[in-house]
Subunit: 147 residues, 2 copies
Amino acid sequence: MNRADVVEVEAANAEYYAAFEAGDLDRMSALWAFDSDAEGQVSCVHPGWPMLRGRAEVLRSWALIMANTTYIQFVLTDVQATVHGDVAMVTCGENVLTAAEGSESDFAAGGSIVASKVFVRTEAGWRLWLHHGSPVMERDDDEDDEG
Amino acid sequence: MNRADVVEVEAANAEYYAAFEAGDLDRMSALWAFDSDAEGQVSCVHPGWPMLRGRAEVLRSWALIMANTTYIQFVLTDVQATVHGDVAMVTCGENVLTAAEGSESDFAAGGSIVASKVFVRTEAGWRLWLHHGSPVMERDDDEDDEG
């Protein structure tokens, strides 16, 4: 892997979270690749959501999410970026702080998410081809698999 | 996209589910790529699980899951495969039928999952680089976004 590629991809990954935290739909839109007949459609899975396909549907979901999010902050853990030619994959954990409506606290809700992203290299830089986020659930009954 | 590539990738995707349904760890192992210093580690997220990284950890999870699954069957929906050079992405829905222990019915449990996969082209064929599955949850409060 080219180290410069990895740095660029990590920056694109950071921009995703910065755009989300800022509630800036234009910045989020700029990050996503364009659908094409030859290359297919972009895809996005928000935690607990079904698969969204195509730039229009994905950006509509972001407009909805941003309109309903008064505050959100991410602390990323264990970010790993790998590059294969013109495609890059980034996986990480997201520790999420978000404001709950009607709460006196600014930090009433949160959660642990794992996220996988695929970026493609374009003339305009690395662009999101896939984001898949999912909630990490408690699994008490699997804790005994250590032995 | 080369149509022959897409057909091969769709076959690799089908083999993943056939290996899971058969409970065949060898077939599942054969599907996964190898970690490398240059290319990084494979990653896997089972629904509700944290991120697993590296071939050893991923295959250990498959051994555990297969040992605890007496019956499982997948009906895939909306399979979409895209190929970018030597990397392919497959997204689909998984309708899951699985046997619950102690139940009189063979089809006691099930669920709706969405899955994203990344395959890389190797000399031995397309190999899994990432699998990310997550549960689709009911969202009554979002049903009004149609208007």
